[in-house]
Every structure is written in C-alpha cells, then in structure tokens.
Amino acid sequence: MAFEQKSGMSLIVKTITRLTVGLILIFGIYIVLHGHLSPGGGFAGGVIIALAFVHLMLAFGKDAVTTRISKEMASNLESIGALMFLVIALIGYFGGSFFLNILSKGTPFELFSSGTIPLSNAAISLKVGVGLFAIFLALVILEGSKREK
C-alpha cells in the first residue's frame, strides 16, 4: 500500500477506482457477449474494456500499468486480434465461401446462437480494446520521454 501513495492521484480517487474498475470491465464483457442480440458488439465493448484500463492508469500512475503491459505486448495482442478475425473468416471456406457461417446457429435470441458472430465480436473487441489502450500508452510514453530530456 505504502508505495502506491507516491504516484497517481489522491486516496479518494484510488479507492473509488478500486470499486468501479471491475464493474466497468464486467460491463464491457457483457456488451461484447451480447453483441449479436442487442446494441453494442465488438467495437463498443472493446472501447469500454480499454477505458477500464485507462481509468486504472489515470488513478494509479503510469508505472502501475506499464510494468505489467509493455508496448510490444500490446502491439502483439492487437495483431493477434486481427489474425483471429481473419481465421474466423477463413473457417467459412470449409463450408464453401469466405465469411460463411458454418457453425450451429442455435435458437434465435439466446446467448449461444448465431454461429461465428460472437467469436468475431470477441476478436474485434480484443483488437479495438488493446489498440485504443496502445494509443493511450504511446501518448503517455511520448510524454515521459519528453520529460526526461
């Protein structure tokens, strides 16, 4: 606890952040998983997930996050998201054409339905979430390198 006092914002902000950041993350995952049933989907959920991490970084200082997630790791995860989306699209060739939805559709309006669309939403959310977080991380690192000069 003691070392956390040095960087970041005040104790009040840190305590509230500890309470809310998990809720924001869970809400983002909910938006991603229900993307094929209700408004939302991969992009909106990914943005909410990225904002949870940005929130954490603003409250606890950049060292709390940059020591755990480096810029290279964020870049790699973003590429993995794009490749997952491509692989899901290529799976369609087993049934005949690009982006063909060959998995079982299930019954409509249930959580596990509509074949490959939830998987595509998950891939897009990974790409968007990590990408938006990487933009913020790059701006923070740029700011830090300027201050060291």
Binding site: S38, P39, F43, P108, F109, A138, L139, L142
Partner: protein, 112 residues
C-alpha cells in the same frame, strides 16, 4: 428543420474554434466539435418521428424503424475521428516539445 439548423449552429461553434482560437488544444477541441456535429446530422437524416431502434427484438413487430444505414456510417466515422484525434494530439505534443508553446502565433521558426 430546426434540428438541422441546431446542427449547423454546433458546426459553426467548432469552426469558430478552429479559425479564431490561438491555442492548439482549443483548435483540436474545435475539430472534435465539428466531427460530432456532422455525426449528429447524419443520424438525424435517418431519423423518423416515433420510430424505434432498428433491432430485431423478440416478440415485436418490425414497424416504424429508423434508417440503420446512417448509424452504420456514423460508427465508421467515429472510428476515423478517433484515429484523426490521436494523430493530431501526437503532432501537438511534438510541436510543444520543439517550440515550448501551444500558441500558434509564436510558432514561426521554419527550421532548426
């Protein structure tokens, strides 16, 4: 019609910020306001009164839906706006690093 004119007013506010302000951060905020006024205008073009969201929900008749096409376009536009804003902010940070000011009238040196 009133709503479209209000969109135009919002656009004018952003344009005033871009043309008249001298601080780079205020110019970037003006760009953001212009972008959002355009997004609002596109969504309003597809709106119809007493319409409902274009979602295939359970046990509901597909009646009086608003036009989903501008909404899909605006989603793309928001993503592009995010990229543009990130680019402009990083350029502004570089300019501050080089000249030590955000005031555009004091950024005169062309090289060095």
């Amino acid at each position: 019609m009133t709503l479209y004119l209000l969109c135009l007013a919002l656009f004018s506010v952003g344009l005033y910020g871009v043309l008249r302000k001298r601080n780079l951060v205020k110019i970037i905020i003006g760009l953001g306001i212009i972008e959002y006024s355009m997004n609002l205008f596109f969504v309003l073009l597809g709106y119809r009164y007493h319409g409902r969201a274009p979602i295939d929900a359970q046990a509901q008749d597909i009646l009086n839906m608003v036009d989903p096409l501008p909404q899909a376009l605006v989603l793309t536009s928001i993503v592009i706006g995010l990229g543009v804003t990130a680019l402009v902010i990083s350029i502004a940070i570089r300019i501050y690093e080089k000249y030590g000011t955000f005031d555009i009238t004091k950024i005169k040196r062309l090289k060095g």
